[in-house]
Amino acid sequence: MSIEPTLPAPAEALSVPTVDMQASIGGVPVVSPVLTASGCSAFGQELDPFFDLTSIGAVVTKSVQLRPRSGRPTPRMAETPSGMLNSIGLQGPGIDGLLAEDLPWLAQRGVRAFVSIAGTRVEDFAELAARLRGVPGVLGLEVNISCPNVESRGEVFACDPVAAADVVAAVREVADPAQPVYAKLSPDVTDIVSVAAACAEAGANGLSMINTLLGLVIDPDTMRPVLGGVTGGLSGPAIRPVALRCVWQVHQALPNVPILGMGGIRSGLDALQFVLAGASAVSVGTAVFNDPSAPARIHAELADALGERGFGRLADAIGYAHRRPDPPAGRHSRGLQ
């Protein structure tokens, strides 16, 4: 491919880390706490010209289902203030295509794949997990339960603690024991802690949070919803405060459950907020559309930010905001800065 980004090549940008950035995904060590986000980096190949894919924790692949899917009709996106809506409809090659082409490509290059799986029945998820057992390069499974459950009038699995736990238990049972299983939670619930607890109880090795928020935009010209799918998923910096709140609440309630934090991360300081709130690793999604080298840049920025704050290891910063005493009152200093 003839892509020649003018953005700084991140391989060089990675400063020699004085901070120990080793992270863990459900107990499996990874070189960086920064991952891509499902659906925002396809299967990794297209980002190869922009940065060294082995320098990040993993490529989280686009959610795959059993069969190839066309996805929804266009328009599939709408830009929104500091974010975007998408209604891709999980276009993808299906598990066969993934196993035949995309995972081998990543494995050959030594890139870790955190494989996102999706389905509309509990058995679909289990079958996908079974197909992925022992596949080289597969770091673990992210279970995208923000999918409609055909057995429950299309209610989304992630919106019901019982349905969510059913999926997680089924996947954990058949999945490769060496592959950690993360449940990916939706913020569109009254009580995210109860869904998180149910998933953890069901055997999830960690939680990915958050998926997009359900949103809608109307085109003032056509006077119809912009998206072919009417509603879509809201992502990007706009949702960051909601994502951080979810991570905070769940880490507070379940301090021992690893969290892969995401939602609007665009800089190392954004990632730092997630780590301080309790995430042990982060995914970078929509920001990649703005800056294709964002994951590697954010790794470098996060390392710098941790070092500047006196952390020797990433691990020490995880959940630190919960432990830190309140700062002294009076935050603004005028003039004498």
Binding site: T6, L7, C40, A42, E46, Q65, L99, E101, E123, P292
Partner: protein
């Protein structure tokens, strides 16, 4: 970051030249660049894709039509401003075999993307004819540049405010007889009409489409079109990396914005009705591991690298299109 090195108003458009030697060096006609818009405080996260209108002296030129917030911001960039740009992106226009006379058809600012192609074709010894049209004179673009490179060269406007009154398709109907290949860039309706004309004339036609793009680099799947592959099956192809240039006969223009039932994977989309096993009508055959990815490589002629075997003529397309091998 690239510095804006030139700026001029051209009717309703603004032409910007920015200094980006790497992009200028690598760019091929038909490719595009993607600009971040709004500066460091921007609420607009998505890059804007803009066709490359020409390169030279380390500069890349683009023609911007101020429409919404992003293009208005770009069109307002001052000389010396720094802009964040990625490129070149997408697949370029495939070049025809030596000696093939070419007809270039531009609509509105779409004509800008043809200037580099016209120059490349002329340099390759091809005869180049061109037609460019717009709603009105101020929405014409790159007329002097194309006029210097193409003959015959016909300008049309809907309102007759410049050149002939009428649509480009009228001029195309006259000129297509002398052409061995047609290239078009412009609004969707024009691409469709010109494509039909090329099919009717039995010559290849290439169109550069313009779909909403969230990423521009192939990772998001927002920019898809129903495109017929070499195997005769329709897939949702990403216009950013598999396009923006497609064989016009391969694009199912009438179905853009819909989900045709025969698109690969459409059968899996019926949420409530989806049966547990894939229906017999659409068996899921795992793709042969060693073969070229049919999702990626068959929707347009292959440019650069090792050429794949020439695609068979699509069985299920009307018009009996004659597919010719185009050398890079």
């Amino acid at each position: 970051m690239a510095e804006v090195a030139s700026r001029r108003t051209m009717g309703a458009y603004v032409e910007l030249g920015f200094f980006a030697p790497d992009i200028a060096e690598a760019a091929e006609p038909g490719q595009f660049v993607a600009f971040a818009v709004g500066g460091p405080t921007s609420a607009n996260l998505l890059r804007r894709s803009i066709a490359i209108a020409g390169v030279g002296a380390g500069r890349v030129h683009v023609v911007v039509s101020a429409k919404g917030v992003g293009s208005t911001w770009l069109a307002g960039l001052e000389l010396g401003a720094e802009v964040d740009v990625v490129g070149p992106l997408g697949r370029p226009f495939p070049l025809p075999p030596p000696g093939t006379p070419a007809l270039l058809v531009g609509g509105g600012y779409g004509a800008a993307a043809l200037v580099g192609l016209a120059a490349r074709l002329r340099a390759g010894g091809h005869e180049v004819a061109a037609v460019t049209g717009a709603a009105s004179a101020d929405r014409l673009c790159s007329v002097p540049e194309l006029g210097a490179l193409a003959a015959p060269f016909v300008v049309t406007t809907d309102d007759g405010s410049a050149g002939r009154r009428g649509w480009v398709t009228q001029a195309v109907a006259e000129l297509i007889r002398g052409a061995g290949v047609v290239y078009a860039c412009g609004p969707m309706g024009m691409l469709r009409a010109v494509s039909d004309q090329a099919v009717a004339a039995g010559i290849p036609g290439y169109v550069a489409v313009e779909e909403s793009m969230a990423c521009g680099i192939g990772v998001c799947m927002t920019c898809v079109l129903p495109v017929v592959g070499a195997d005769g099956r329709t897939r949702f192809a990403r216009s950013c990396v598999e396009g923006p240039v497609f064989g016009g006969d391969r694009v199912r223009f009438a179905d853009v914005g819909t989900l045709p039932a025969d698109v690969v994977g459409a059968d899996a989309m019926g949420l409530m009705a989806a049966p547990a096993a894939p229906p017999a009508a659409a068996p899921v055959a795992p793709p042969p591991p060693a073969a070229a990815d049919p999702d990626h490589d068959d929707v347009t002629a292959y440019i650069g690298g090792a050429p794949p075997p020439p695609p068979p003529p699509p069985a299920d397309r009307p018009g009996g299109t004659q597919v010719i091998r185009l050398e890079p």
